[in-house]
């Protein structure tokens, strides 16, 4: 089957019936979990094809099959969602230390490979602080979600996952942490809810920092092409001015990013 071809009802209906049983059951049966596992094996084959093609265009993805608990959680959270329509049962992730322009280039490369892919750009309008670009590819009626993340976006997302491990996954979907009014640790006055609020603001600050670094990178790329000496000096001064701004206004963000990078390494 070709890219974008819809699955037949004979395939889709049993999958969605399984999804309904998983949503409605307080404890899924072993048979249903086995059926889900078989469906995921199929999705993994599609994911392998996507990963291979990503490697062919010079990218280095890792892949992930959504785990059983989060599939059921998602079905229960989104009451009208059909199992066959979940776009991230199979996913690939590309993480690079790169500028926002370079992130755009990678997304363009992926779209070049799958022209009918859908792009969800969560950089300007993040989802509860989460920023990345997701490209949804459809092959043989199955979806594969490719996450493209810069180093800042990834560090923020991984730390948020860890907050979710500690204080409940609701944080990731805009909910409060468990025991929201509890101080984050003994002798500290800030509560969990306040810290999570500040952490979401930090995503905006990381993004502003990335935008400035992107500006610096653009000007640097232009410098060799500028023949007029006075114009070159002007642009070099613009770079210095942006770098000073980054150093002064985003020192905290840089420090936090370094700490995160070390702890997440």
């Amino acid at each position: 089957m070709a890219e974008g071809v819809a699955l037949s009802k004979q395939i889709v209906n049993p999958v969605n019936q399984l999804g309904r049983r998983l949503r409605e059951s307080s404890e899924p049966t072993q048979d249903d979990l086995r059926e889900l596992s078989h469906i995921l094996e199929e999705r993994a084959k599609t994911l392998e094809i996507v990963a291979r093609q990503l490697r062919e265009i010079g990218l280095s993805p890792t892949t992930r099959i959504k785990n059983t608990g989060t599939i059921i959680e998602k079905l229960k959270r989104e009451s009208t969602l059909k199992l066959s329509k979940i776009q991230d049962l199979a996913g690939a992730r590309i993480v690079r230390s790169m500028t926002l322009d370079e992130q755009d280039e990678i997304v363009s490369m992926i779209i070049g490979k799958w022209p009918s892919a859908k792009v969800k750009d969560r950089r300007v309008s993040p989802t509860y602080g989460y920023r990345a670009v997701h490209v949804i590819v459809e092959i043989d009626g199955y979806f594969v979600e490719i996450q493209v993340r810069t180093h800042y976006q990834h560090a923020w997302a991984q730390a948020t996952e860890s907050f979710g491990d500690l204080w409940g996954r609701a944080i990731r979907y805009g909910g409060d942490p468990e025991e929201p009014d509890r101080p984050v640790s003994d002798g500290v006055s800030i509560t969990r809810r306040e810290l999570i609020g500040k952490w979401k603001e930090m995503s905006n600050d990381f993004y502003k920092l990335a935008e400035l670094e992107n500006d610096v990178s653009r000007i640097r790329a232009l410098l060799p092409k500028i023949e007029d000496t006075r114009e070159r000096v002007t642009q070099e001064e613009a770079i210095r001015s942006l770098e000073i701004k980054i150093a002064k206004k985003f020192k905290n963000e840089k420090d936090i990013f370094e700490i995160l990078s070390r702890s997440l390494r």
Binding site: A44, T62, R64, I65, Q158
Partner: protein, 73 residues
């Protein structure tokens, strides 16, 4: 491409085990078997694919705090 089954204790933020497999189907079957060992467990059991363990640690660093057991399957 290698496939890894990771068992992660989210409450303690601790990697319990990491097993590698040459094939995704075998890895998913292994995950299912692990899930059946302790149904309803709050452990996160996940299947990831990567060129190497190092690549995995870069993109899914959250799982790699402390490793109790690393076993090739």
């Amino acid at each position: 491409m290698n496939y890894y089954v990771i068992v992660f204790n989210r409450e303690r933020r601790e990697l319990i085990s990491l097993e590698s497999f040459p094939d995704s189907s075998i890895a998913i079957k292994a995950r299912f078997e692990k899930e059946m060992e302790d149904p309803g467990s709050r452990l996160e059991i996940v299947v990831l694919g990567a060129e190497s363990e190092d690549a995995l640690k870069r993109t899914h660093s959250r799982y790699f705090g402390e490793i109790q057991e690393v076993t090739p399957a």
